[in-house]
Structure formats: C-alpha cells, structure tokens
Amino acid sequence: MLTRNRLLAGTAALVAASLATLGLAGPAAAQAPIKIGELNSYKVFPAFLEPYKKGIELAVEEVNAAGGVLGRKIEVVSRDDNGNPGDAVRVAEELLSREGAAFLIGTFPSNVGLAVADFAKQRKVLFIAAEPLTDKIVWDSGNAYTYRLRTSTYMQTAMLIPDAAKLKKKRWAIVYPNYEYGQSATAAFKKLLKEKQPDVEFVIEQAPPLGKIDAGAVAQALADAKPDAIFSSLFGPDLAKFVREGQQRGLFKGVEVFNLLAGEPEYLDPLKEEAPEGWYVTGYPWSEIKTPEHTKFLNAYQAKFKDYPRLGSVVGYATVMSAAEAIKKAGSLDQAKLVAAMSGLTLMTPFGMIQYRPIDHQSTMGAYVGRIGVKDGKGVMKDWRFVDGKDALPSDADVQKMRPKN
Amino acid sequence: MSSAVLQVEGLHKAFGGVQAVADVSFAVAAGEMLALIGPNGAGKSTCFNMLNGQLSPDAGIVRLEGRDIVGLRPRAIWRLGVGRTFQITATFASLSVRENVQMALYSHTGRLRSLVRRFGAAFRPEADALLEQVGMFDQADRVCGVLAYGDLKRVELAIALANQPRLLLMDEPTAGMAPKERVALMELTAQLARARNIAVLFTEHDMDVVFSQADRIIVLDRGQLIAGGTPEEVRSNPNVRAVYLGSVH
C-alpha cells in the first residue's frame, strides 16, 4: 500500500533526480565532440527552418565522416529561441555555459540576430549569423565577433537593380511587409534605382503588417496608382495572397513585377501552377544548377532525406561548413583565434566559393536572379543567372562609413 | 421644521414618460423612525435612490440638516453623515465581519490611503464595540461570504453606524429574513436610533414590523404621497385601505 512515508521517499528521489538534471553537465572530456551552439526560431518559421535543420545535419555528417576537425568530431546543439530576442539571449547563454558550446551559429529574424550579435560582442564569443537578412548586423550595428553568411537584403535588392533599370519604367509602386526587412529592402531599392535612373517616380507605397495583408485592398490600391512596375518584398502567406488577388484583379497586366525572395522554393512552391510568370525574383533554382559543388550537395541531400533541398537547406549546410572551416583555420577553440580565423575565411559552398570579408564580416555568398515560369504545374525560375555576392555590395568606402570602428 | 435631519420638498422623477415620483415632500426628525410604505411599483426605491445620491431628481430639494444634497454622489452624502443598508445586502464578501466594519471606520477617518500600515491593527476596539451592539461580536472573525442572511443584515447595520450617522437610510432592511428575526432587527435599530439620536427612514413590506416599530408612516402610491401620520392614523386612513385592499398583497 502506498503510505505517506513511501510516497515521501519516492518524491525525494524524484526531486534529487531533477536537481541533478538542473545541475552541472560534466566537463567535456578531451576527445568528446566539439560542440557548436545553434539557436533558431524553429517553431515560428518552420517552413524555412525545417529544411535548414536538415542542411545542418547533412553538413555535420559530412564533416565527421571526413574525420572531424582538430581530431575531434563536431556536434551541433540546437535550441529554439521562440522568435524572441529575450529567450534567444537566454538560450545562447545556456549553450555557452551549460552545454559548453565553443561558439554560436544560427538565428533567422533580424531582431533576434541583432540581439544575439550584441550578446556575442558582450560575451566576446564568435557568432556566425546564418540567416538574418538585416543589413545592420554587419554595417550599422556590426561588431568584431559577428559574421553573417546569407546574402543580405541590400545585396539581394542590388542584384535586381540592373534588370529594373534596364526596363526604364517610370512609375513604380512598392509593397513591403511592415518591419525592418521590408523597410530596408524598400529604402535600398529606391536609393539604388534612383542612382541609375534619376527620373524614376515612386507613386505609391503599401506597408501591410507581416502575415496580415489585406491583399484585395492592397492590390486595388496599387492598381489605382497606375504603376508601370512594382517592387515587392512580400514572402510567405502574404505573397501567396497578393499573387492571387493581383491576378484576379488584373493588377499585373502590362506591369513588371520584382519580388525579393519569391524564387526561393520555400515561397515559390506553395503557389504551384499559380506562380506568377515573368516576375523578376531572387531565389534558388535547385533542379537546374549544374555546378559540381551543387550537384554533390544535391545528391547527398536527396540521398539522405528523400526530399529536395530548399534555400534554408543550403544556408544550414553552409553555416556548419563555415564553422568547421573556421575551427580548422584557427587550430584551436580560443575565441580570439576563432574570430581572427573567420576574417577573410574562404570556403566552398553549394553556391561556390565564398569569403567572409574582413572589412564588414559579410560573406560573399551570392544568389540566383531570374524570372518565374511555370513548368508541369509548378513554379520554376527561368532565364536565371548566378550573381556573386561580392558584386552586389557597396564600395569599401561606403561600408567603412556605415560600420562603427571597433 | 428646523429640527428635521432630513427634509424633502417637491421631489419629482420621471423615466421616459412615466412619472415615478411626483411632488413628494416629507421630513424625518432626529431619533425618529419613519417608515415609507406603498405597494410594489409605488416609487419607494426611486424615492430612496434620490435621497442617497444614486439617482438625481428632475425637481425638488433634499436637505440634510439644512444643506442641499441634490446632485451629490453617494460617497459624498455618506461623508455628510448618512448611513445605508441595502435591500440585497452589500458587504465585502472576502473580508471578515470585523474587517467590514473596520473598513467603514478607516474610510470615515480618511486613513485608507496608507500603503504600508497593516489594516488589521487600527480601529479594532471600535469595530468590536459596534459588533457587540448589533450582536455579531462572536462572529467577528468569520468571512462575510459565509454568513447567514440575517447576520449580514446586522453587519450592514454595524457598518452603517460606523460613521456616526445623523441619518440612516434602510431599503427593505428585513427582506429575506425570518419573521422573528425581522422584528428583532428593527427593535435593535429603533433602540440604537433613539440612544444615538439618529433619524431613520426605512421602507418595509412587513406590516407587522412597520406598525410595531415606526414612529410615523408615510404612504406612497403611484409616485404620490397619499397619507402620512402615526401608525394609528395611517391604519385608519381610507385611502391607504383602498390602496392596500385594491392591490392584493
């Protein structure tokens, strides 16, 4: 029979056990794997981050199959930051102090990326920001400890500018999700296009809240402004709604549309046969890239996951590869050496060779620019070309002006 | 009439087109028990609510010891020395009996704003003395939410006495009580009123209570005063008989 005393004893054991889990993780043995702390908003942006996680797994497997680094295997310890900078800083600290992670990688939304970057600076540890697009993370708010892999908002916008300027359209309408990414993309687009084409006019700007676009009303308002061309930085459900309403209302008839990111499988695939033909986009035409480095990645990915890679997969994969290369080059896990190793680090990724620029810690990873077409009831990118990231960055002088000295 | 504690003149109130109270005038003297009676819907509650500040009259004057109190909020009227009990008791259910009375004492002395003093410490003897008077001292530590209805009425009486009122307004003070309790409560009230020289105005359905406890009675029917005087006078008034016999009660 369960008596009071027995229950008491059982509870005590349970409490002791949970205290033990709350307590110290044992100090890492010398030959234990090198832990890399990874945090991301898995539950908030699952469409992008599930493939990303797979990319990470693939890279870890490959690095370890090749013997690891510094004679040890690597292990990526992942945490969910809940899309919240406060939680992100907490789990970052947990990764460092409890898990004994050597340094940090990851993050998706700009505000989380910037918060962790600032934390890295304070804590004096290396942080490789995988995905945040914000320009600030390497420029206005750049710091010595933070590097960023993904092609930034500015770069992706700049990649679209040559096509936009070539069309010589005078009246432009702009629509963007109302937060930093959309604002920066818009500001960069207006500035860069104006430089190329001083007589350009921006006739209307619409800034719907992220994830809550009233697509019909927005499409109508844009149509009323009678633009020659549209620049959009919508993505996800907002993009799908905008495309459908715009098509039904005839908004895109005779109007050229430029849309950042819309060629990424994450956002293009859900549109299926309704993918808007002829739009100029940045993206990832995974099935058509024939470079050896991409083919190798694609085959390995498909063999492992029985699924095709998304852009997130490439980002996850390249992030871990960058981390591994940095450790190799540093030859130790000393933060100063790791940070120094990142500066100017070059490595091969599925998108070709990239370099982490010493001047602003931005990688030169490029992106694919092209137009949307529909093939077999699916959206694809056609007439695409690869733009190297280093060709889409502002001049060194401009970068130095933006980036604080430290 | 300068000795009247409460003086009401020409009170009017209409809701929409319906005249709820029309040209009602009366007065209550210190130490006097005045009963306001009338059939359902006669305008007793409307009348009451104009005296205690819940409603403002369309016309008329309400004087408390010579001072016009029309338009004042209930809390201001209380500060001038008017205690109230409600038809459906209103006490602080999560507070103990003693704390309910202490609350009124705190408010009376304007010391409720303190953030750090402990509430329970002050006014304990005063509260206990009041509870003793209404016969609730032995239940002082019980929470009001668990009290029997009759006991709550007594607590209300103690609360109403806390600011040393000149006037007590009691709306159906014995509603919901057993007949024996009713007389006991009103006897207690009358006794306290006389001892402290308080004017009491009450409405009541129980005619036994009214005729045994009131010094004077005024009768309201369809918004108008139709009679007034001592219990004997009212009992024999033909108008009153008509009203009460006409409406089955």
Binding site: A115, D214 | F86, L112
Partner: protein
Amino acid sequence: MTFSSILIQLLNGLAAASSLFLVSAGLSLIFGVTRIVNFAHGSLYMLGLYGAYSLIELFGRTPLGFWSAVVLAALVVGLVGVLIELAVLRRIYRAPELFQLLATFAIVLIIKDIALFTWGAEDLVGPRAPGLSMAVEIMGKRVPAYDLLLIVIGPLVLAAIWLLLTRTRWGALVRAATQDREMVGALGVDQAKLFTSVFFVGAVLAGLGGALQIPREPANLELDLAVIADAFVVTVVGGLGSIGGAFLAAVIIGVAKAFCIGMGSVTWFGVEISFSKLTLVVEFLIMALVLVVRPYGLLGKPQAAQRVAAEPAPPFKVPSWGFALVWLALLVIVPWVTDRYAAILLTDIVCFALFSVSLHFIMGPAGMVSFGHAAYFGIGAYAAGLLLKRAGLPMEAALLIAPLIAGAFAIVYGWFCVRLSGVYLAMLTLAFAQISWSIVFQWDSVTGGSNGVFGVWPSPWLADKTVYYYLALALCGAGIAFLWRVMFSPFGYALRAGRDSPLRAEAIGIDLRRFQWAAFVLVGALAGLAGAVYAFSKGSISPSTISIAQSTDGLVMVLLGGVETLTGPVVGAAIFTWLRDVVARNTEFWRAVIGLVILLIVLLFPQGLVGGLKALVMRWREWPA
C-alpha cells in the same frame, strides 16, 4: 481616391468584414453563454482552413467537392469544439473566473503542433472556388466574384443566427443565459447540454469562417493567433454577446482597414501620414475609441451583475518570515552550488515573478483583469534602454527612473481603464498595449523599430551574471514584498472591498476609481521595474516585450499558480519559465508538451498549482503514515 476606387475599397472591406464576422460571431456566442474567454477560437478557424484544404484535395476541385468540403470542414471543427468542451472545459466550469482561459491557451499550443505534425510546415495554398474564380467588372475595375459571394454570406449567416436565436427554444435559452447565467441554471435547464451545443455552434462558425477563406488565404500555422486578436476586438467593439453588434463592428473594422490601404500616404499640412502603415493597429485604435465612449461596446448592454462566486475567495495569508527567509536563502545559494546558467535562468524567473505578481495584484485583489500588462513591462524595458542609450544616463539611474516612466504611462492608460469593468476593461488594456507596441514598432529613429534597442548592458560592476542576478533578486524581491505588504494595507483592503462590492464601497465613502487608478499606477511602475531589470539582463530590447504574447505569458503564470493565493503567481512564473526552458530544449514538439502539462495542471488543480497543493497538504495530514 476616385469614386470608383472608394466603391471598390468598400467592397473589399465588406468582404473582409464577412470573414471577420463569422469568427467573431462564434466567439461572441460562446462568451455570452459560458463566459469563457476562448483563446482557442483562432485555432478552430485555422483547423477550418486546413480541414477544407484536405477535404477539397479528397473530393476534387469541382463545385460540389468544394462546397461539401467547406461545409464538412466546418462541421468537423464543430465536433472538435464539442470535444474540447466535453474533455476539458466541462470539468472546470466551477473554477475561478478566467481559469478556463488557461485551458484554452494550452489547447492553442496543442492544436498548433498537431497541425504542424499533420499538414507540415509549408503554407498550403488552396484552390480558387470552382465556378467562381473569375472577376466581375464593376466601374471598370475587377472584383473577384468570390469576394462578392462573401459579402452576401455575412448577412445571410447573421440572419440565420438571428432566426436561430429568436425563433427556437434553444435560441431563447441562449439569450437568457447570455443575460443571466444563474437564472438559466435556476430554471432547471440542463446547463451542460446547453454549453456543449453552444460550443458546437460557435466552433462551426469559426470553422466555416476558416473554410470559406480557402480561396483567399493559404493555410498556415500563424493563422490562429492572427485571427484571435481580431475576433476579440470585433466581439468587444460590437458588445459582448451581441451578434448584430459583432456584425456592425466587423463591417466598421473591415471597411476602415480597406480605406486605410486605399488612402495610402497622405500629406496634410506638410506632414506625411502613411495610412497604409496604420493597418498595423487600426482595429485597436477603433476599439479604444469605442470603449472610451461606449463602455459596453456599440450594441452591448451592461452585463448582469458579475458572476457571484459560489464561495468567496479565501482571504490571502501572509507568508511567514521563516518561510520567506528559507526561500530567500535558497535563492541566494543556488548560483553557488550549480552553474552560471542557473543564475541566468533565475534572473528571468525573478523578473517574470515580479511581472506576474504585479498582474496578480491588479487581477486578484483589485479585481481588474488586464490583457495588456506587457505594456508596462515593455515600457519599463524601453525606458531603461533609451535612457541609457539615447539620454546617456548611467545604467543605475536608468534602472531606477524606468519604473517611474512606466508608472507615468499607467497614469494615462489607467485613467481610461478604471472607467470600465470586466472583459471590456481587459480589452481596453489590450488596446493600449497594442497601441504602445505599434508606436514602438514604427518609431525607428527612437525605438529602433522592429529590431529594437541594443547594447543595453549593465555597468561593469554588475556585468557578472551572478552579481546581476543578486541585483535582480534584490529589486524584484523587494518589489514583490512591497506589493504583498500593500495587499494587507488599508489601501489593499480598500481595493479588495471595491472588488467585492462596488456599491457598498461607494456607500461608505470610498472613491473606488481613485483607488483603482492608483493601483494601476502602482503595478504599472512595478511591472516597469521588472521590465527594466529584464532589459539589462538581456542587453537588448525588442517590441516583443510589449507584445500580446508577453501579456498572455503573464496571465498564464498567474493562473497557473493560482489567482486565489499570494504565492501562486511566483510559483506560476517559476514553473512556466522553467518548463519552457527544459521542454524546449529536449523535444521537437515542445509546444504541445507544454500545452499538455498545463492542461494536466488545469484538470488536476482547478485552483491553480498553489491552491491545489494546499488542498493536497490538507489531505496529507489525514493520511496513514
């Protein structure tokens, strides 16, 4: 705007209003009858969309397939609603007010992970309505035919609900229960059956609202929370329990949004105003305005006297000095015996503890539920950050001034809020929180916009995480102790008195609003202190500190621990924060796990954790040793 664009935007607004109305009508019905703040209503809407998507794939993209899928999806969602009612809510109707909110919050988490598991992470774009995929030309502009259909469906559903409510016995019961719940119980109606049926109808409406969006909205996992806030706003603006009011409010909000978009940027007196950006917050502005002018919404009536608690809330007990000292000692020792991270987690916990104790103070003793308590937490955090970064104040000064600024905002917000009561008051606090959030979110040059403020680190002597933890413990502990002390002061008693009986309070000369206002300011300042301490522990501040999610977390902490106990909110904050830390680390579907744990607590301890544990202790003493 030309006349034709005005007309078209009006149609757009009406189409949006129809979908808004369907969700809100269900919410309003459920709230009216059961008084449950059903957080999971948005999840039912989301299920409607996902369900319709799958059923259309199954039935085929024909008109028959489409419409039977829409109807069937709505009915299935109705059954999910019944399941929720039977399995969870029915067991806790007697729990303290708002406790059911905690259960529905848990259900939101569970449904979200179930949807992720079932339908995957990728957005699912459904087909256009077969036969209605074309556009109709109106004054030279094209309007999707489906939008026109939606414009008709809204009033049709309104009429159907109206007939149901006025022409059937069921409707009469629903109306009676909406006005006075006790009355229906007293009349001998089977309340349980009534509630279940109301839940079914409400859920069907939510599911239908979602399913009908299939041609307009991709099924995605963010829909639940996106919809629930809007639905609450519409319900409250219209007046709780008023279906006609919900329709009116949906039309006003839908049309207002469409016109904000239609007007775009306008320059008035040399100032450019972007109405398009206003869509971020316009419904909350409307709600604040309506509630200030009409405290019961457009068509609502003052609620029948708030539910009389079956048993009065037990009086709070002051924790003894010994009890407090033991805990304090433990909290001081922990960082010494464990690791650096324990101090960091505990810093979060003490910040949230003060946050939830301050919320509890206003909810419990003062009887004013706040759905927007994060406003003060966030304003405190921003004030601290901005004083440090923009005004160049020393960190210590910023930390101490920040609560005053949060308190100053509470002076303004509180002045309006104390004029309302019940859910209306709660929703007005939410409106103010959302307005604050949107200002912070938009005002890039000062607040850093959506990115927030960075480099908000403490002074060097506090840089060590353990030292900072002690500071946080001291400040937040002092704040909690102070609030507890105030609860037993004359001021605290006056608030409780006012909560128990506003009528009696007024009758003994208490100016209740003044006390409630002061209480608002007090808890605002202390929530601000929690926010400021939190900000410096993180080094950065983002708009999420003012978000609805932050406010909800506070509510969850208070309810989890138990509203009717003093230590409940502290325990709730600790458990919830700790749970998230541990569960999120170890599982993929951590949201569902947290939801299940909360649900378990809800069902086992309907008095909250601390209240439940106290009851257990009572039994313990009677148990054979």
